[in-house]
């Protein structure tokens, strides 16, 4: 993939030294030496790297506001960064940008059990929020697999999900308020400990906006009481269809499980080899259904799910008898990433959403593509909410393979859209899927979103080059039209 980024501003690049000097007057944490800024040159999409002019690590909202307003007045681009675990390149720096890292915003400001919420700085990790309230039996519901590392600010920027989104929603359903700084330095507070707030729902808009609309400097999130009882069922099937039908049946019988995960055969093998989870090896598809609630409720539901699975030709089923056993069911699934790391030098994790009933169709197509591209693939599927994560295996030592893997990934996402799904369920568009946006949106849609961006960031200085195709419009047929002669600026280095 040749990735075009916004044209670097020569004036800014030539003025580097002065910009750094000026920023040092605002913040005492300005990094610009090569070694210092190297850790910030990439995020979770490690195939792309770029060093910024400097990294600023502000400690107060006022500092953020001053940095942004300085950059605004001097036409310097800004890229916000949380923990850098994003998988779509949202926090990838630009050559002529200042990276604003929120790492020093790492304090929990208030745990408020009476109002069932936590007020925290954006650099606090997702898991730290649960850790801060679990002594009272509370937790923060959205649980991305990266929860020990990713920041709550990053979660809001990406609208991250987890395995429990069907029942408990994604980040957007669990945020009550934010403080954010607009590109011109304006500080806004939206929402708080109350449920509904004034005017347009800016909180909903900011969630999932991938750092393009404002820099989040404080968050208020909802906390929930832990359920009394949690149990899981492990169910094996001889075909993907059967597992898909079983999921549909569970839902039509009125059950809303806390989590439903499907793994395909390649992933079952990889994760079981790695984590010794005790999965059945002779099944095509493995479904984990987790149920939570009061004890009797969970027991009733477990029975129902077992019954439904039998009716859908399950060849293996087992209900957890203890919490240890339940955790063992999850052990393999949760180790999907490291497990694949063992069998393949590199892999990319795709993230489409599809209607649940299209699972067998889509997986069938993915296997065909896998043959066509000659690259292995393993799939996990948040079946509860239709979010599919194909993991495409490749070897970065072979320069052709990354390109092939990316094309394979793009084909998968296009197919997801074709069957009525979307390009990204939880990892964001970033740079990775930017040029696929026209598969889903036409020019009117994109232009509307770009105008909205301008309402927040008139000069297009905040995280430009992400999410929306640059320099071109979506043509009628949904293809991207590259303007010739506009590609003279260098592509990003690729590794």
């Amino acid at each position: 993939m040749t990735l075009q980024m916004p044209q670097a501003d020569e004036l800014v690049l030539n003025n580097k030294e002065n910009i750094i000097l000026d920023l040092k007057k605002i913040s005492s944490n300005v990094l610009f030496e090569n070694e210092e800024i190297t850790p910030y040159e990439t995020d979770g999409l490690t195939a792309y790297k770029q060093k910024p002019i400097a990294v600023v690590l502000p400690e107060t909202t006022d500092e953020v506001s001053k940095v942004l307003s300085y950059c605004f007045n001097n036409n310097v681009k800004v890229v916000p960064r949380g923990a850098g675990t994003g998988l779509s390149g949202g926090a990838l720096p630009l050559q002529d940008c200042i990276l604003v890292g929120l790492g020093k915003f790492n304090k929990i400001l208030e745990t408020d059990f009476e109002n069932r919420c936590v007020v925290a700085q954006p650099g606090v990790t997702n898991l730290a929020i649960t850790n801060a309230v679990q002594h009272e039996g509370f937790y923060y519901a959205p649980d991305p697999s990266s929860q020990i590392a990713c920041s709550i600010g990053g979660n809001i920027a990406e609208n991250s999900g987890g395995v429990h989104s069907l029942k408990y929603g994604t980040t957007t359903n669990n945020v009550l308020g934010v403080e954010m700084v607009l590109m011109d330095g304006t500080v806004l507070r939206i929402g708080g400990k109350n449920l509904d707030s004034e005017g347009y729902d800016l909180l909903g808009l900011i969630t999932g906006s991938e750092g393009l609309l404002g820099v989040i400097t404080e968050v208020t999130v909802k906390i929930l009481k832990k359920p009394q009882s949690v149990r899981a069922v492990l169910i094996g099937f001889d075909t993907i269809e059967d597992s898909g039908n079983c999921v549909a049946d569970i839902i039509s019988k009125g059950i809303v499980p806390a989590g439903m995960e499907i793994m395909d055969r390649p992933l079952i093998k990889a994760t079981d080899d790695y984590a010794k989870a005790g999965y059945p090896r002779d099944v095509e598809s493995l479904l984990i259904v987790e149920l939570d609630g009061t004890e009797s409720e969970v027991d009733i539901l477990i029975e129902k799910v077992l019954e439904i699975s039998k009716a859908n030709k399950a060849s293996y089923h087992r209900a957890s008898a203890s919490d240890e056993e339940r955790l063992r069911f999850w052990k393999g699934r949760k180790a999907a990433f490291p497990a694949l790391g063992v069998i393949s030098p590199d892999y990319i994790c795709m993230d489409g959403s599809i209607p649940r009933n299209k699972l067998a169709d889509v997986l069938g197509e993915i296997y065909k593509m896998s043959k066509k591209y000659g690259l292995g693939v393993a799939n996990c599927f948040h079946a509860g909410d239709g979010n599919l994560h194909p993991l495409i295996m490749y070897d970065s030592n072979n320069p052709k393979e990354l390109k092939k893997a990316e094309e394979f990934g793009a084909d998968i996402l296009k197919y997801c859209v074709k069957v009525g799904g979307v390009l990204t369920g939880e990892h964001g568009v970033g740079i990775e899927k930017r040029d696929l946006m026209c598969e889903m949106f036409n020019d009117n849609d994109i232009q509307q979103q770009l105008r909205l961006k301008k309402a927040f960031d008139d000069k297009n200085l905040l995280n430009p080059g992400k999410v929306y195709p640059i320099l071109h419009r979506c043509a009628e047929e949904g293809r991207i039209h590259i303007h010739k002669g506009k590609t003279k600026f260098p592509d990003l280095p690729r590794f």
């Binding site: 959403s353 009117n444 927040f456």
Partner: protein, 410 residues
């Protein structure tokens, strides 16, 4: 051009708005015109969307329903019911408030005002259930956002923005709503005779348990006699806690509530039928049926609810006695304000309270004078107002869609 235009489809909406934009002609957008929320505006043209209706696609196993924007809410609710499903945000029937009788209005109307019922604190607001839409913006362009899947971060989440935008950004033509299974069974545990502070404390107590309460409201003594239920004594204040799920679990959880509140002198249980009726009457604002007064809702931190009630609703010392009730486990206070106060002093005081305690008021019913001159929302800061105005412009550059409906001049 002037008068009422009744388009039959999206492309007619688009043509009409495009022409109106060209000639700078403002448009009042109405669904079934059941809700008189928002500032009173006068436009030479009315866009009546009552023909943009019909179910497009209902997929029970995929948990969504796609409908033309102004399909009747009741029709949608009935259809879902036939498959034992429902809208999780518990649509509110505003008909009682405005006309003294049931009228749910249209889906689009509810979305425009982001109206959510008693389940909101557990299941989210209406905006959390809008998965995607098609609409026409103020330039007449057809735009879309979202989809039919619950997990979707492709581009900005415009669904959130249009929900609660009072038709000032775009005219919805088609919407996708998330649906949920109906709970198999429900009961409501009632505690009588608490004052507002005790009620707030009781909410806090149950919300710290894992009993998964899905409704928690409180009606004071002076606002209870409109309930006519066999099993409910309507002469005392009532605190109600709803429990839903499989029958066995509901019964167990209700008995847990009994033991948590065993020191309470007078309690009762409303079983399935009475329980459902109770929440319908409560959610549908039947207590303010056909009210001639100003009715407002205040979304606040539960810990501020009691001080709000003491200042504005129920204080024998300073002689205030405004009808009110508390919903959302303390997160929402509904209040009916006597119109006798011609300067609306109390409204200004409530706004001040809201600004100070980061709460938010929406006036849902008032008279023509107030709607024409006053602000029905709390009061946005200048920065927020200017951003709001830029957002409005990004959808509706000529400001022709419901101009002034939310804020004067925007």
């Amino acid at each position: 051009m002037s008068g009422v235009f009744q388009p039959a489809n999206e492309s007619q909406i688009s043509d009409f708005i495009r022409d109106s934009a060209k000639s700078n002609n403002p448009i009042e957008v109405v669904g079934y015109n059941t809700k008189a929320i928002g500032r009173y505006i006068q436009c030479s043209q009315t866009l009546d969307l009552s023909k943009i209706k019909g179910i497009v696609e209902y997929m029970p196993e995929e948990l969504y329903i796609k409908v033309c924007a102004n399909t009747s809410m009741l029709e949608v609710m009935d259809l879902l019911k036939s498959k034992k499903q429902m809208l999780g945000f518990e649509p509110v029937d505003y008909g009682y408030l405005y006309y003294g009788k049931s009228n749910y209005g249209s889906v689009g109307g509810a979305i425009g005002c982001n109206l959510s019922g008693s389940r909101r604190f557990k299941a989210g607001a209406l905006r959390d259930h809008l998965l995607g839409f098609r609409a026409v913006n103020g330039s007449g362009e057809i735009i879309k956002s979202g989809g039919t899947v619950v997990k979707n971060v492709t581009g900005y989440d415009l669904s959130k923005l249009v929900a609660g935008s009072y038709g000032t950004l775009s005219v919805l033509s088609e919407v996708v709503l998330k649906v949920l299974p109906e709970p198999e069974y429900s009961e409501t545990f009632i505690i009588y005779n608490l004052d507002s502070l005790q009620a707030i404390n009781a909410f806090s107590k149950v919300m710290k348990t894992s009993l998964e309460i899905s409704g928690a409201c409180y009606f004071p003594k002076n606002n209870i006699n409109f309930f006519r239920l066999n099993d409910l004594d309507n002469t005392h204040s009532v605190l109600a806690l709803r429990v839903e799920g499989p029958k066995k679990s509901v019964i167990e959880r209700v008995s847990s509530l009994q033991s948590i509140f065993k020191e309470m002198k007078k309690t009762t249980i409303l079983e399935l039928y009475q329980s459902k009726l109770f929440w319908k009457i409560a959610s549908n604002l039947e207590c303010f049926s056909n009210s001639p007064n100003v009715v407002a809702k205040i979304s606040l931190a539960p810990t501020d609810a009691n001080s709000f009630v003491k200042q504005f609703c129920d204080d024998s010392i300073i002689g205030i006695n405004n009808k009110y009730f508390i919903d959302w486990a303390g997160g929402l206070v509904w209040i009916e304000i006597d119109n006798l106060d011609p300067s609306y002093l109390i409204i200004e005081k409530i706004k001040k309270f809201c600004t100070q305690s980061n709460a938010h008021m929406t006036i849902v019913k008032s008279n023509m004078t107030y709607r024409s001159t006053g602000s029905f929302l709390t009061s946005a800061s200048d920065d927020l107002k200017s951003l709001t105005s830029r957002i409005k412009k990004s959808f509706d550059p000529k400001s022709i869609l419901n101009p002034g409906k939310m804020y004067a001049g925007i």
